[in-house]
Amino acid sequence: MTTDTKTPRYYPAEDIKRPRKKHVLVKQNPTKIRSSITPGTVVIILAGRFRGKRVVCLKSLDSGLLLVSGPYKINGVPLRRVNQVYVIATSTKVDVSGVDVKSFDDAYFARSKDEKKGEEEEFFADDTPKPAVVSDQRKKDQKVVDDALLKTISAVDMLEGYLAASFTLNSKDKPHLMKF
């Protein structure tokens, strides 16, 4: 009498699909924001649509992104999220204690789900770029935040002009030797 200890005598005809062990990624630690970036820091955006713009950092969101506002009236940057990696923090600080940013979180900036089109529809659609539609709620929130910001900005001499100007490098600038 033979004992089956190692190899089974019967195999199934087809291979059984076994689900792979799910690798669980646990998000435990919040993103570490650079110590030079605090609420109220003027920050230079280095990439994206608003590259070169000097902008006020309002707070850091749970996703690790920074909430930032031009103010819109000064340089055209609205309430927006920006990654700290694409940013230079300057030593200039603006007082943002009077600005209420509690209502802004990542859900506020999430894209709406009802913009999916069928593949065919998209193929036959126009190639003309559709103008961006800014919701009234965003405009309202922008105005509230900016009014509070503009008050403290206009109190500092030349700060408005500074935020309106773009950051550029000239041929004699050495960024590794520059203090921001």
């Binding site: 030593s91 100007a165 950051f167």
Partner: protein, 131 residues
């Protein structure tokens, strides 16, 4: 064209290299053709008494009357009497060093203000030239 600044006891020197870079010191004794003994005095300039190579220092125009190997306290006394610190700050050499230091430490906002000031100055000059 003769030489006017000599390496001698009492010569005030500016340290150009090393941990004491940018500070003034007094030559207190000559060791040999390559190095000398300097002293701050430590209480005024922060430079301790030490031997330093000539390659690390630059001679200034100032000279004080001290004995060879004078004590730090005696050097200090003469330094205070002559007000070397004040005289040094008034020289264009010291002013240039200070402005260079200031330029490097400017923040982004400061650089913007400098740019605006330069433009305003140029506008005033252009106006005067046109008139």
């Amino acid at each position: 064209m003769t030489f006017t600044r000599f390496m001698q006891v009492g010569r005030i020197v500016l340290i150009n290299y090393g941990p004491e870079e940018g500070k003034l010191a007094t030559v207190v004794d000559i060791v040999d053709q390559n190095k000398c003994l300097i002293d701050g005095p430590a209480d005024i300039t922060g430079v301790e008494r030490q031997v330093i190579s000539y390659t690390r220092i630059a001679l200034t125009d100032f000279l004080i009357k001290i004995d060879k190997n004078a004590k730090s306290k005696d050097v200090e006394k003469v330094w205070e009497e002559e007000d070397i610190s004040g005289k040094w700050e008034a020289t264009s050499w010291a002013k240039k060093l200070a402005s260079r230091k200031r330029r490097v430490s400017l923040s982004d906002f400061d650089r913007f203000k400098v740019m605006v000031a330069k433009k305003q100055k140029a506008a005033i000059i252009a106006k005067k030239m046109a008139a």
